[in-house]
């Protein structure tokens, strides 16, 4: 069993029961029972190891209805998220993973994205843009930015900004792959490792030195997970777009000239913030926009609540995901801001979707969407 690797984590939690992981856990806030907390899920892990619990569709539900937001890990000292991913792996092995996961995996294998979109249409957004075939900086758009109808124009804007600041990125177009974070999240560790090896070869062939992405899932996976698997041969510098933007503004390469007299709040994406600790760069970029007023939600930075879009919850239980999203949106609206800004395509899409469905008088923007307006 995959979770046996984490047996010490499981029994440490079993003997501790401190409960720090409960109150702010997004899924606990929805369901309100102990088996929808990290400590409850680790107890399911103990049950599986000891053979007290047999895998079942019901147990699978408790394991998969989690956004993997990492709040529990931040409040703990254990590898909670890795245990949760391993638990998913064991549930998968026993044949009880939710069917949506199987579709996602099939889509990843067949067309290199989790959204069941054709591979050939991945790079359509590039039309009309003059992008180099090879270069030192690779723009890695990722699946969500490439396909989401809520983020149309986002990838083009990023490329234009990167060109404006002189980075002239290259792009893999139809060779671009899914970073495979989804494989990882769904417990397909072996398949993930294989994809990493293959993806590494594709990146190496592009002859880039730096990878820039606007997706925190890709950022974490390309920067941390790939490194852990590939070791020193994986020597690319991986940056999130907000880090590039912050530096360019500071260096005077990017001038923000258009005044935007508005109040906004910033939502920390879990994978960029809590996991990768990129908290200040996006805020500094927003603050650099003339006339803008940035206000904080009560739960920010490490304490930020999840948007509901993580951990494949949107596919597994969209009702729960959007309810989590609704809570976060309320926190944003509470600040008196006119819009919520984020730097993750999944967060932004989830906010935009909720706002659209419920006709909420509030706006959600990707940080680049905002920045483009300020550049003029």
């Amino acid at each position: 069993m995959k979770i046996e690797k984490y047996i010490d984590n499981i029994y440490t939690c079993n003997r501790t029961r401190c409960g720090f992981c409960i109150d702010e856990c997004p899924s606990y806030r929805e369901v309100g029972v102990d088996f929808y907390t990290s400590r409850g899920r680790l107890m399911i892990g103990r049950g599986l190891i000891e053979g007290v619990i047999k895998p079942s569709p019901q147990a699978a539900k408790a394991i998969y209805e989690c956004t993997l937001c990492g709040y529990c890990e931040y409040k703990c000292a254990l590898e909670n998220v890795k245990v949760l991913e391993a638990l998913r792996g064991d549930i998968k092995e026993s044949g009880f993973e939710p069917e949506q996961c199987r579709y996602i995996i099939a889509s990843l294998h067949n067309s290199e994205n989790p959204y069941m979109k054709p591979k050939w249409s991945r790079g359509l957004w590039i039309r009309g843009l003059n992008i180099k075939k090879k270069g030192k900086t690779l723009y890695f758009a990722g699946c969500t930015v490439s396909y989401s109808s809520y983020l149309k124009g986002n990838a083009r804007n990023i490329v234009k900004i990167l060109q404006k600041i002189g980075l002239n990125p290259t792009y893999l177009a139809s060779n671009e792959f899914c970073c495979s974070a989804f494989l990882h999240m769904l417990g397909y560790e072996e398949e993930f490792q294989k994809k990493v090896e293959r993806n590494y070869r594709v990146i190496r062939n592009s002859r880039c030195e730096t990878i820039v992405t606007s997706c925190p899932f890709c950022y974490l996976t390309l920067k941390k997970e790939y490194s852990e698997i590939l070791g020193s041969k994986y020597d690319f510098k991986v940056l999130h777009i907000t880090q590039v933007l912050k530096e360019s503004i500071e260096d005077g390469k990017l001038n923000l000239t258009v005044e935007m007299n508005t109040t906004v709040t910033y939502h920390d994406p879990c994978h960029l913030g809590r996991f990768m600790r990129v908290f200040e760069e996006p805020r500094e970029v927003i603050r650099a926009i003339p006339g803008i007023n940035l206000v904080e939600m009560r739960k920010n930075r490490f304490d930020s609540h999840c948007c509901g879009g993580g951990g494949v919850l949107l596919a597994i239980n969209p009702g729960m995901a959007l309810s989590i999203n609704s809570k976060r949106l309320s926190e944003a609206i509470e600040t008196g801001a006119e819009a919520i800004i984020s730097s993750c395509p999944i967060c932004v899409e989830t906010f935009k979707r909720k706002i659209k469905y419920e006709n909420i008088k509030f706006k959600a923007y990707d940080i680049v969407e905002l920045l483009v307006k300020a550049v003029g």
Binding site: D8, Y11, T12, C13, N14, R15, T16, R17, C18, G19, F20, I22, D23, G32, V33, D34, F35, T37, R39, G40, M43, I44, R46, G47, E50, V52, I53, S56, Q58, A59, A62, E73, Y74, K75, C76, A77, L78, R274, R298, F302
Partner: protein, 489 residues
């Protein structure tokens, strides 16, 4: 005839809704233990878990349990240290955290009425929006509920100013062991000389009299400033003398903790993580006094200076700020370095286990020596002693005598419980109490209570029977034989 729990679950679900009733093993597993010392692989599974959202739901559950004569175990955050919310004999576990609403906030009379399953942290984050504060502050506040704080009578950091939970409870709603809904105490004022103070019977009742479902509490306007200090003393007696002088001087002290030097190292985990070294204290230190003051800036500043002057006069040595901050993080703020929270981080191999007792203030040095002697005799490694002060403006103590326990070694666990028993009996022998914040729970069950209250045992039993005639409420706690501790062994 074996109890048909499937039938009981269906009966409950038919009335309160199937979405509030859980019977699958993976659902019950999370409710099989608390933070008590028990074998690592032990399971005490409830047969049914129910998550009511109202007093009426609870009444339905208890009435059904009463009819079938099955155990009812109310639970809060499940962070208790004596198995108080562990289903010793199976039965119906009531997860009270579904009752987590604020029912009324009365800012004119400074009271708040809540459903009992709200956590202390959640209550305070709501009160904060109105500039208000509920000062009851156990370290488990992120998980501990109001109902469980009443039922366990847990310790509070700010006990020397605001007392234990009984000082805060104005009134409450109880579902007794028959399933009757009873309102006890008052609604808007703490003070009454009418009838009996029946709501006080629920303080430390550990779910044996019924399920607390609603509570009205006194609250306070949030203070503006707080200062935190630590002073090293050569004896516990010196630290006690300092606190008594501070109270005598008329200072409104907010919190007092007195730790031995080993416990101090445990509680400066945040310092070790941050600075990568042990927190240093002056040589010869035996007791570290930790004090806080809260209020307006000027008052806090004056109080601090005056208190430290008193401490220095008694040869106390003030400890550096970084160490103080790390301790305060550990004790109250609970904001650790991300991924370095102290409890799981410090319990990977051996776990924390503690005997808790109330020790008369004049005998703390003696108690410290006794603690070391009894731990050593039982072959246990010392983690340290911590004195909490829990009565308003008087040094009445709740002491934690902590050791390390290996929960993979049954013999080690048995020795731990023998140590706990000896410390409890010692506390009784010097006029203290055998438990001061953990409760009797599964640990003692009725073993020590029968000694501590031998003259009033009949009354205690009668009270239990009035509230819970079939003895279905949390059996195996406070009454009857203990699984671990036998007197006369």
């Amino acid at each position: 005839m074996a109890t048909n729990y499937s039938l009981i679950a269906k009966e409950i679900a038919d009335i309160i809704g199937a979405d509030k009733v859980f019977t699958e093993i993976h659902e019950r597993m999370a409710y099989s233990r608390d933070w008590s010392v028990r074998p690592f692989n032990e399971l005490s599974l409830p047969d049914i878990v129910v998550r009511p959202t109202s007093t009426e739901d609870v009444a339905v559950i208890v009435r059904i349990a009463y009819r079938h004569g099955v155990p009812v175990i109310p639970c809060g955050g499940l962070t208790g240290m004596v198995g108080g919310a562990v289903p010793t004999f199976g039965g119906i576990m009531i997860d009270t955290r579904g009752m987590n609403k604020i029912l009324e906030l009365d800012t004119d009379n400074l009271t708040v009425t809540v459903q009992a399953g709200i956590t202390i942290s959640k209550l305070n984050s709501e009160l904060e929006k109105y500039g208000l504060w509920f000062p009851h502050d156990p370290e488990s506040k992120q998980a501990a509920t109001i109902g469980a704080s009443i039922a366990t009578r847990n310790d509070s950091t700010f006990g020397i100013k605001y007392g234990k939970i009984e000082q805060a409870v104005i009134g409450l709603v109880l579902v007794d062991g028959v399933g009757e809904i009873v309102r006890l105490g008052q609604r808007k004022t703490l003070i009454s000389s009418s009838g009996y103070r029946l709501h006080w019977l629920l303080i430390g009742s550990e779910g044996t009299l019924g399920v607390i479902t609603e509570v009205t509490l006194r609250i306070f306007p949030k203070f503006k400033e707080r200062c935190v200090d630590m002073v090293a003393f050569k004896t516990f007696a010196d630290a006690v003398k300092a606190v008594n002088r501070i109270v005598q001087a008329g200072l409104s002290i907010e919190s007092v903790n007195i730790m031995c030097s080993s416990r101090f190292q445990y509680y400066t985990h945040a310092y070790r993580v941050k600075y990568g070294r042990e927190a240093k204290i002056p040589p010869g230190t035996k007791a570290i006094l930790c004090i806080t003051f809260n209020g307006d800036d000027e008052v806090v500043g004056f109080s601090r200076n005056y208190a430290l002057k008193i401490c220095r006069e008694l040869e106390g040595k003030v400890i550096e700020e970084e160490i103080v901050n790390a301790w305060w993080t550990s004790k109250h703020i609970l904001k650790f370095e991300p991924g370095k929270q102290k409890w799981p981080d410090s319990q990977r191999a051996e776990r924390f286990g503690a005997a808790d007792a109330s020790i008369p203030m004049g005998r703390l040095d003696e108690a410290y020596e006794k603690f070391r002697e009894v731990a050593l005799k039982n072959g246990l490694k010392i983690l340290g002693m911590n004195v909490y002060v829990q009565a308003p403006y008087s040094l009445h103590t709740s002491v934690s005598f902590a050791v390390y326990v290996n929960d993979k070694d049954l013999d080690n666990i048995k020795r731990f419980y023998n140590y706990v028993k000896e410390m409890g009996l010692y506390a009784l022998s010097i006029g203290g109490s055998s438990t001061s914040y953990q409760g009797d729970g599964e640990k003692y069950a009725g073993a020590l209570c029968e000694i501590e209250h031998k003259d009033s045992l009949k009354l205690i039993s009668s009270i239990k029977s009035i509230f819970d005639p079939k003895h279905i409420m949390n059996p195996g706690k406070k009454f009857g034989p203990s699984k671990w501790i036998k007197i006369g062994d």
